[in-house]
């Protein structure tokens, strides 16, 4: 299996985690999955707590998958609450299983290694898991291009994390855009 995460989703995942340094964060991966090849083109930030509950996740899944020209949901991303914590949370696994059931194909879990963010977010910091046919989780590293790493660290330097909107924020104020169109423009502009 190979996985590729584009600069924009890579940066958005990091920024979402940076916005909530004392919390875990969750979101959806959008893109293409062909056989064992996964390409993540965008993400939708969902929640910022250790164990998000079903209702808001279910609503978000419904809204995102109902988009007429929207990209497919190919998995979940997740950053643990504690700095040194690793390993997918039960919530991330359940959410991935739900997505896999909808798609009829395995879902991917991308996990942020918090410790790798130290020193200005200049290092590769994402790993990924995918369930194989026996339902076991296989771990893989995700390589990032220099362009991606520069995009991420510039976005962090410019404190763009303060602009991330997740679905929980949207439920508090439906005026805010959890697809983060404006943020995407700022991330690409910063590079």
């Amino acid at each position: 299996m190979t996985i590729e995460v584009d600069s924009l989703p890579y940066a958005t995942i990091v920024l979402h985690a940076l916005k909530y340094p004392s919390k875990a964060v969750y979101g959806l991966l959008l893109g293409e999955a062909k056989g064992s090849k996964v390409k993540v083109n965008n993400v939708v930030p969902l929640a910022h707590e250790a164990s998000p509950l079903s209702p808001s996740l279910e609503i978000a899944l419904t809204l995102v998958s109902a988009r007429p020209n929207g990209e497919a949901i190919v998995g979940v991303y997740y950053a643990p609450q504690n700095l040194k914590e690793t390993g997918a949370s039960p919530t991330a696994i359940r959410l991935a299983q739900k997505i896999a059931a909808i798609n009829g194909s395995p879902a991917t879990i991308v996990e942020l290694q918090n410790v790798k963010l130290e020193g200005g977010c200049q290092n590769e910091c994402l790993t990924c898991r995918q369930s194989n046919d026996e339902g076991k989780w296989k771990e893989l590293s995700i390589s990032a291009t220099q362009d991606t790493l520069t995009t991420v660290s510039l976005a962090a330097q410019r404190r763009l994390y303060r602009e991330v909107v997740d679905f929980e924020n949207h439920l508090d104020s439906p005026e805010s855009d959890f697809y983060n169109a404006a943020l995407a423009a700022s991330i690409l502009e910063a590079y």
């Binding site: 109902a66 914590e85 508090d172 439906p174 005026e175 697809y179 169109a181």
Partner: protein, 295 residues
Amino acid sequence: MVADRRDWTTVSFEEGREALKEWREEHARRSEEVVELWEHVLSRSPSSLADELCTVYEQVCIAALDCSRTDLAHECINALHKRFPGSSRVLRLQAMFYEARGQWKTADDIYEKLITADETNPAYRKRRVAMLLGQGKRLEGIKALVEHLESFITDSEAWLQLSELYLAESDYARAAHAMEEVLLTAPTNSIYLRRLADIRYTQGGQENVEVARAYYEQALKFSPVDLRALYGIVLSCNTLVATARVTPDKKREYMTAAAAALARIQERYESVEPEAANPEEHSNIMEAVRGMEIH
């Protein structure tokens, strides 16, 4: 209310002071912004803070520890120590300083001393729980929290934390019970009511979803435009309609309730200025919400 800003480096002294005060009062955890405000604005003239100075030092110290800025935290502790030598409140900050550096044993010894000196103060015991959680020892944290609650049964902050820990263990029944205890201290708090509903919905099964729906309705009474509670009613009613043992009367009731909630959700979305954020996605959301209706 203090508006959300992207940049706190250029605000006036008075604005900065107001923002810190508001965050203290609402217990907001905006550590990075607190540090930014202090370094760029307020530290230029600490004495102008007058009576507030010591509280601000304490606030900045905790925020600095949260951002691994032990240098700044150290400055704050020194300033406070000069004013109040031997104060237990300052000693607590000192212990938190050791926590931030991962010197758990040193921190724990200080808490031990503080607890012996003041048995009725729950704050030090709670730091010990926080310390276990910081080290990733969730089960030990739960045990310590349960012990703490035996002596301080009305500590709703502790019950809330306990509920969250049980959720991380996927133990929904205990998480719901802890949340019920939180609710006892504030029976009309719509956030707590909705949270309990969310837990019971997640737990699943006809009976739990029925309870969830009742709590969502209750939450709405105190907060009529809460989108989460409205969505919660739609979800739980849709689930209940699909259960095998539902009577025709009940079925009609659920469908009416779901339709009413959906209408209110649509109304809320319609009140959003069309040019607000992302018009295309906004209309997609409206369309998807219409699609949630059961026929």
